[in-house]
Symmetry: C2
Subunit: 96 residues, 2 copies
Amino acid sequence: EVTLINVFEVPPGQRDAAIAAWEKARDFLQEQPGYLSTALHGSLDPQARFSLVNIARWESPAHFADAIAAMRAAGAFPPVDGVVPNAALYEVVRAE
Amino acid sequence: EVTLINVFEVPPGQRDAAIAAWEKARDFLQEQPGYLSTALHGSLDPQARFSLVNIARWESPAHFADAIAAMRAAGAFPPVDGVVPNAALYEVVRAE
């Protein structure tokens, strides 16, 4: 299992458009093999540098790579003006 | 309940020092009122822009603010050279 963390830089006024685009991508990705869960987090402070952060779980890096390739092939997910995603796969290295 | 997400920019060679500093802060913070859980995530790709991301849960923003104030007052948590934290409180705005 891996954790996908996508940290979004969202210009003022683009948060709703970014959430709507995220929902479209989520609807596609959650149907792909190896998808486990996702939750989009919004900052309490609208001035936060990263006002949206998606945290999702996938069975493996390969499952995630295949899902993203399928999404790109579908070609129906245009970027939102000014919104900069920073996505990477993670594993827990320390906990309690 | 709120989610604290701290996205760290870590220069090459400073990951172990950043993790050690994180462990010291965790040991202090997990004793503070309102602390629920924490997990430090490390990127699978060492070249990822944010190679460490901490995801913690706290009972409320006030509990978190008090814990950070106490940590600062204790004054025993120096920053690690070149490591840039980006901490903010979040709530889940969309899930499945």
